[in-house]
Symmetry: C2
Subunit: 363 residues, 2 copies
Amino acid sequence: MAQAPDAPALDAERGGGTTAAPRSGERSFTRHTAPTLEAVAALAGVSRATVSRVVNGSPKVHPDSADAVRKAIAALGYVPNRAARSLVSQQSHAIALVVPEDTTRFFGDVYFASIVAGINDRLEQSDYVLTLMIADHAPQGKMLRYLAGGAVDGVVVVSHHTSDTSLTQVGQMLPVVFGGRSGLAGVDCWVVDVDNVGGAVTATQRLVDRGCTNIATISGSLSMQSALDRVEGWRSTLESAGLTPGPVVDGDYSVVGGARAARTLLDRYPEVDGVFIASDLMASGAMPVLLDRGRRIPEDLKIVGYDDSPAAQTCEVPLTTVRQPSVEMGREMADILLDVLAGHTDRERTTVLTTRLVERESA
Amino acid sequence: MAQAPDAPALDAERGGGTTAAPRSGERSFTRHTAPTLEAVAALAGVSRATVSRVVNGSPKVHPDSADAVRKAIAALGYVPNRAARSLVSQQSHAIALVVPEDTTRFFGDVYFASIVAGINDRLEQSDYVLTLMIADHAPQGKMLRYLAGGAVDGVVVVSHHTSDTSLTQVGQMLPVVFGGRSGLAGVDCWVVDVDNVGGAVTATQRLVDRGCTNIATISGSLSMQSALDRVEGWRSTLESAGLTPGPVVDGDYSVVGGARAARTLLDRYPEVDGVFIASDLMASGAMPVLLDRGRRIPEDLKIVGYDDSPAAQTCEVPLTTVRQPSVEMGREMADILLDVLAGHTDRERTTVLTTRLVERESA
DNA sequence: TTGTACGCGTTATCAT
DNA sequence: ATGATAACGCGTACAA
C-alpha cells in the first residue's frame, strides 16, 4: 500500500460546466470542482465501490482494475473528501489540544511549546491532525459544541486548572489525556504527568545540601495541581531535613508574578537564604529584584528554578533548575491517545515522567 | 514519505452487531449514542427540517415550535454533527495554519507565537477553529491531502521559505493568506507583511545616528524573504548615508547561528562598530560572544536587534530593537481570511504593517 | 409556517 | 473480484 512518492497533481481547473461560474473576474474558491469517487470510477471504468477499495487498500481487487483506478486518481488528482468519510466512519482522524489558559501565557511559556512540539512530533507519524483550542475560560459554548460535534476523535488537555469541571463533560464523550495531574475526581481519562513532587524534592534537597537553612518557595498558581505538588515536595523535604519551612509566595507562574513574589518574600522573610522557585519564568522575574535588593547569588541567597527553559540560561546568574521532559510528555500524551483510539484502551491510566537537576550557578 | 505506522485506520474490527458492546469493562467511546436531528424532531413533535431551521436561526419558524425544539435540544444535549453539516454545506468552518518550518524553531520563536496568538484571538470571535500543521518539509503527502480533502476552508501560511513551490498548489484550491511576503510569483493569494525594509532602515539609521561608521549585519536565513528585505534596508540606509556596507553574515535566525555569525564577523571585520542583527534571538546568541571578545556594548560596539522579543530584555545589555506588530499580524491575517471566506474577495491583496524602534541600551 | 424529498461523498453489506 | 444499494446526519429547494 505504498503511497505514490510524488505529490498528487491537484489541479482545480476542471471544466465542469455543470455549475455556477466565478463571478466578476474574481476567483472563486468553491470546491465544487473537486473530483469525487464517482468521477474516478467513471474514468477508470469501474464502480465507486472498487475505487473505494483501492483507495483503502483492500486486497481483493484485480491488479488490472487497481491499476486503472490508480491512473484515474492520479489524472484527476482525486483526494477523498474528509467530511464524507468522517460521516460514515464516525471518525474524524483529528484530535484537539485544549488549553484552558490565557493565550499570551500559553505562548510565552516554553513548557507548553515543548509539549505541543512533542504532540506534533508523534502525530506526524500518524495520519491524525491537530486542532488547537486555546481559551482562558473553561470550555463552553463554541468549544464544547466543537468537541461534541464529532469534529475530533480525542482530546489532549494541558495545564487546566483543577477547578475546571466542564472538562469532565468532555471526558464522558471522548477519550481525554491530561497533561499534568487532573485533580478531577471520577473522571475517566488518561494522565501523563511529570513527577512534580519528586522534582521539587530534588530542587529543595539541593538547597539543603548547599547549606541553606531558611528556605522559602515561590510557587505557581495554587489553582494548578502542579503548583500544589511542588509546594508539597518542597515542604516534605524541609521537614525530613528538620528545617522549618519558610513562606510560600504565589508567583502565578509568570515573570511579573515572580518579581512581585520576590519583593513580598524579602519583606516578609528577610533572613531567607534559599528559594525554590517553581518555574524559570518566575525565577527570571524574581532574580533582578533579588539582585537589586543587594542579595548576592549564590553567596547570600541560593536559587533553584524549574523547567530548564531558555530563560534559565540567560539569567544574570545562570539558574540551577529542574529539567522536565516536556517534549517527551507531549509525545507520550499523543501516543497514548492514538493508542486508545486504535482500540487499546488498556493503556496504563497514569504515566509519570521523571525530572533531573541541571546544575548551574544559582545554587 | 515514510509510511505511517498506524496510518489508515482500516480497522475492520468494528464489532459484529450494530452496537458493539464495551469490551471487558473498559469504557467505549463510540459516539453512536449522540442524538441526531431526527431524535430532536421526534421529541419536539416536528420534522427534521424545522429543527434544522431553529438550529440555524431561520426566522420563519413559529415561536411555539421553536420553543419545543429548543427544549428538546436541551433535553437531549443535541449538537449538530460537524461532518454531516460540512458534507452538505461544503464548508468545514476550519482553517489551517501551515508552518513550513522546523518544529523547535517554530516553538522557540516568540515571533511565531505572537502570530498564532493573534490568529487565535481573531478566530475566537468567529465560529472557525484552527488546525495546526507544522512540518519542516514542504507541504506534501499527508498535509497536501488534508488541505485538498476539504477539511479546511482556507489556509494561513507563516514563514515559508521563498523556495517552497508546493504551496502554489494549495493556493489554487483554497484561499491562502501568507504572513511575510511570499516571494512566489503568480500565486493568487493575500499577503500580510511587516515592513521589513523599513524596519531595517530604522534600525540601521539608529546606528548611523549614534556615530557608527563600520556597520555590518547578521542576517536571517537568506532563503527567507524577510531576511532579504532586512539586508536590503540595511544596505540602502548605509548607502544613502555615504557609508560602505560591512559584511553580511548569515545567522540563520537562531541563537547558535547568531553566536557563530558573531565569531565570523569579528574575524572578518574587526573594525566593526555597529551591527544590525536581524532578530533578537540571534542577538542573544551573538552578544555573549561579542562581550567575551572584549567589545563593550554600546561603548565599542553598538547593536540593534529585531523583534522586541523577551530575549531583548534579558540580554546582558538590554537590546535596542525593532518592534514588529506580530500579534496584530496574526489577527489581520485571520481577519482577511475570514472576510474572504465570507465572500468579500475584494480585500486588499497586500497589507503592510509598520514597525517601531524600541530604545534600550545596546545602541 | 411546515413537511417531503433529494443530495452531499464515502464506506459497507449484500448479491452476483 | 465486482457492482448496486443502503446508510451516515444534515441543509434546503420545493411543495403543501
